[in-house]
């Protein structure tokens, strides 16, 4: 098992390196002269040169990449052009905010979607199943920001149950208040992800319900409920775990629209600002961080998979 984890971590680091090269090259070949953008069109050529030199843009790409990577290792992510602050000071709080939203959303989404999927599978072909499947899919085709607006209008403006902003205005909000503010965007995300996750769960549970070992369990004399609980869930939830793990990076780094709608100073919002301002140091680090999150969760999913599935674990240990 240890060997498996070490191998997986090694592979993840390699992937991350490749990702970093791609990010670096892409941001480097983006059109537009950064110096001109920053200093304005009328600045003198000398000023450009001085600026470029100061920022290191006159060096060969390899050297620039080396400097960037070196910075990443030591935690020095450079200085944001737009905010004139160290990138880490801009990204840090934003990432923390995004993580909060992701955690709240996940705690809401995972159990509800799994329960929905199991319920649909257990009532295959019946009304409950159709309602959950069709409802889930219908909800998923509507983009999350539309759900966001609808929810704000309904619960924030008409009924005034939830705040319209995801971010408390107080100085030091307590945890309950923070969570309370995050509920509405989380529900919007639930609508989008429920159909997907519950469908995968449903398929997994149905496969396990139809399996020979489930038949064995029932013919041993277990009640259907006990049999499902003991013999079906563990096998059925494997694909679900993988799907949820792949959705986590989206929840952390991909919620640009939701953050805009709920006026939430998260990671997505910051990323957007970096793109608009061509704030290269910020953009590079933000995208890199997103990649890091994606790879980390893939790794977590792989390890969880191995723990739950003895066949994979075995292959691993042998």
């Amino acid at each position: 098992m240890l060997r498996f984890i070490v191998k997986r971590v090694g592979l993840s680091i390699l992937t991350l390196l490749i990702v970093s090269v791609i990010i670096f090259l892409m941001t480097s070949i983006l059109p537009g002269d950064i110096a001109k953008q920053t200093l304005g069109r009328d600045a003198s050529p000398e000023a450009f040169e001085v600026w470029n030199k100061e920022k290191g843009f006159d060096k060969p790409l390899v050297v620039q990449y080396g400097r960037w990577m070196g910075g990443l290792m030591t935690g020095d992510l450079g200085t944001s052009f737009k905010f004139a602050l160290p990138v880490s000071e801009v990204l840090g709080p934003a990432a923390a905010k995004s993580a909060q939203l992701a955690i709240v959303a996940l705690i809401l989404i995972a159990p509800i979607s799994i329960l929905g999927g199991v319920a649909a599978a257990m009532n295959r072909g019946k009304k409950v199943d159709r309602l959950l499947t069709v409802g889930g899919l219908s909800a998923a085709v509507i983009p999350e920001f539309v759900w966001g607006v609808v929810l704000i209008l309904l619960f924030g403006v008409v009924f005034r149950i939830f705040p319209v902003s995801a971010f408390p205005n107080e100085e030091n909000p307590n945890i309950f208040n923070s969570v309370y503010h995050l509920l509405l965007p989380s529900i919007a995300l639930l609508f989008v992800l429920f159909g997907y996750i519950s469908r995968v769960t449903r398929a997994g549970v149905i496969e396990a319900l139809d399996s020979d070992y489930m038949r064995t369990a029932v013919l041993k004399g277990l009640s259907r409920k006990t049999a499902v609980f003991r013999h079906v869930l563990r096998n059925a939830l494997l694909p679900t775990i993988a799907v949820i793990a792949t959705q986590v990076p989206y929840l952390v780094g991909g919620l640009i629209a939701i953050e805009r709608v709920f006026n939430y100073p998260g990671f997505g919002n910051t990323l957007l600002k970096a793109v608009i301002a061509r704030d290269f140091p910020l953009l590079q680090s933000a995208v890199f961080l997103t990649g890091l999150v994606v790879i980390c969760f893939q790794l977590i999913a792989d390890i969880l998979f191995a723990i739950l599935n003895p066949r994979i674990r075995q292959r691993v240990t042998e």
Binding site: V218, G221, L222, N309
Partner: protein, 677 residues
Amino acid sequence: MSTNNIPTLELRSLEVAYTVRGIDRSVLRGVSFAIAPGEAYGLVGESGCGKSTAAFAAMRYLPRNGKITGGEIFFEGKNIVDIDEEDVAQLRRSAISMVYQNPSTALNPTIRIGKQIAEVFELNGVSSSDAMMMAEQALTRVQIADPARVLRRYAHQLSGGMAQRVVIAMALASNPRLLVMDEPTTGLDATVEAEVLDLVRELRRDTGTAVLFISHNLGVIRNMCDRVGVLYAGALVEQGATSDLFSNPSHPYTVGLLRCIPRGGLHKSTDRLDTIPGTPPALGLKFDGCVFVARCALADDKCRTQLPQMVTINVAHVARCFHSDKASSLPRSVEQIEYAPQVTGHSTKVGDALLNISHLSKVFTQDGHKVRVINDVSLTLGVGETLGLVGESGSGKTTIAKLLLGLTPPEEGGVVTLDGKGLAKTLNRRDVADVGAMQIVFQNPDQALNRRHSVTRIVGRAVERLRKFSLANAIARAHELLSGMRVDASLHSVRPVQLSGGLKQRVAISRAFAGAPQLVVCDEPTSALDVSVQAAILNLLVDLQKQDKTSFIFISHDLGVVRYISDRIAVLYLGRVVEFGTSQRVFNGPFHPYTEALLSSVPNIDGSTRKRIPLTGSVPSPSNPPSGCVLNPRCPRKAGSGYETLCETEEPNLNEVEPGHFMRCHIPMAKLKQLQS
């Protein structure tokens, strides 16, 4: 057990229907039989005739679309058709258990074996620590090696035979009064099958459990059961004491079934197998008369219009037939034909050398270890002859087929020549003529035929490629081939899904014959088919051989089939040829000790008792073969032969022990003959 007259299980006019597209279709039509305490009752019949449905109905476990539409099921005198789920569960927990066809998938892949067995004890109120101890005892009872270790294993770490022992242990854990066994040895090797059957017999003697035994294998049923029922199209057509029913079958269906089987001694050179014409009726078809009427050579107007009742043949032997007295003289559906003598003027004649395999080896790399799966195999085959390859799974039968076809290259030094011409090691380096000259027919035509193409296209494409025919000519030739294989012209444009298993295999054979092959490798071509269909396919293969002087390599785990169709036999063990010779020599002995054990493990359909020569332990891993003779740790003849030391230290050569008969054994022929007499 009990001495009263209440049967353990009794089905009375049981009717079961499956709802397909909103319509109820009968699967069981008034089935009645009873199993006394301690009795073993067998149900036989071809696939789709309702055997498994009857078994699952007895467990009160039907598929989602299945329901009992009439009749009663009594368990120890109590009708269990209408009892509620909780009572059914209680019955399964304590009184009725089941053993399934695929033991490996019947076990939960993510839960340790110990916990799965212990669960049964816990359900009966045993504490979890005691339950684990009892699970170990349960495994000891089924004679599994190292029970304590097996407890901690997962299903995928067990061989098929071990998994079935675990399932049996689990079934017996509740001390059931009825054990339902649904094809418990189908898919297992003959040697493993024999061990499992021995175990079941022994356990039954100890526990006195009544058994409902389902199998399509008449030999197994004959050896395991006290009484037998024959099911056809969901109706019980004959029932009787086992020996009585087998020696005096009185329903045309039973007679037909028994005639399909290539049993001891039959050989293609003298006997053509009989088949049952036609196909079983579609699910849920309604009958005015006898269910078998459409396929029965004795059928008359009375059979078509009146439902026959059970007729008593003798004491406990009954048959549902108006003509049971004539059943034994049922006209053959397949005539014995005299094949025309060979056309003269051909350059080759039957028996001339065609295929020469010399020093073929194959090494696979598995987890960094070298595994020698084929070790120095040399064989020859003549024109128009069949070479049968036999051996337990893992002996290398299929790998040899792959090596011959160039699907995987042999190691350096291995040479395959066909008709005097050396073949390239891999398929893509062989020219079209070579590819066409050697073709294969697989076990499962479902997976071997492209389901998106029509039958004509599947065969025509092969003709076009292998014979360089124009498209129009290729299609014409495809029709010719298919008709020659008795695939009706009306079926030439359909896709494989619309065909029955037997027809699919005929299409696959047509495809193999597209390039006018000299050699066709048949890898378990009839293993997935019912016996009547198997007989028809075997007849077809023999006809083709007689017509075109095609040679076959025939791989099968069914020794009866191999014996019937083969001229020469090669017996494989751990990638080595241990015996090679004419069919007669190999099957009549003196045998190589491995061949002897293999042959003795086949359940005998003729009812003659024969001492089983057991192979102890399981097949060793080819990655770590035993020193000396690879068979020596399991060899039934080593002990007491006087050659023990030699056997354990030196690997014997494949010696010619008599003209045309090769054996890889240190024990001299004369000694073997003496030991085996």
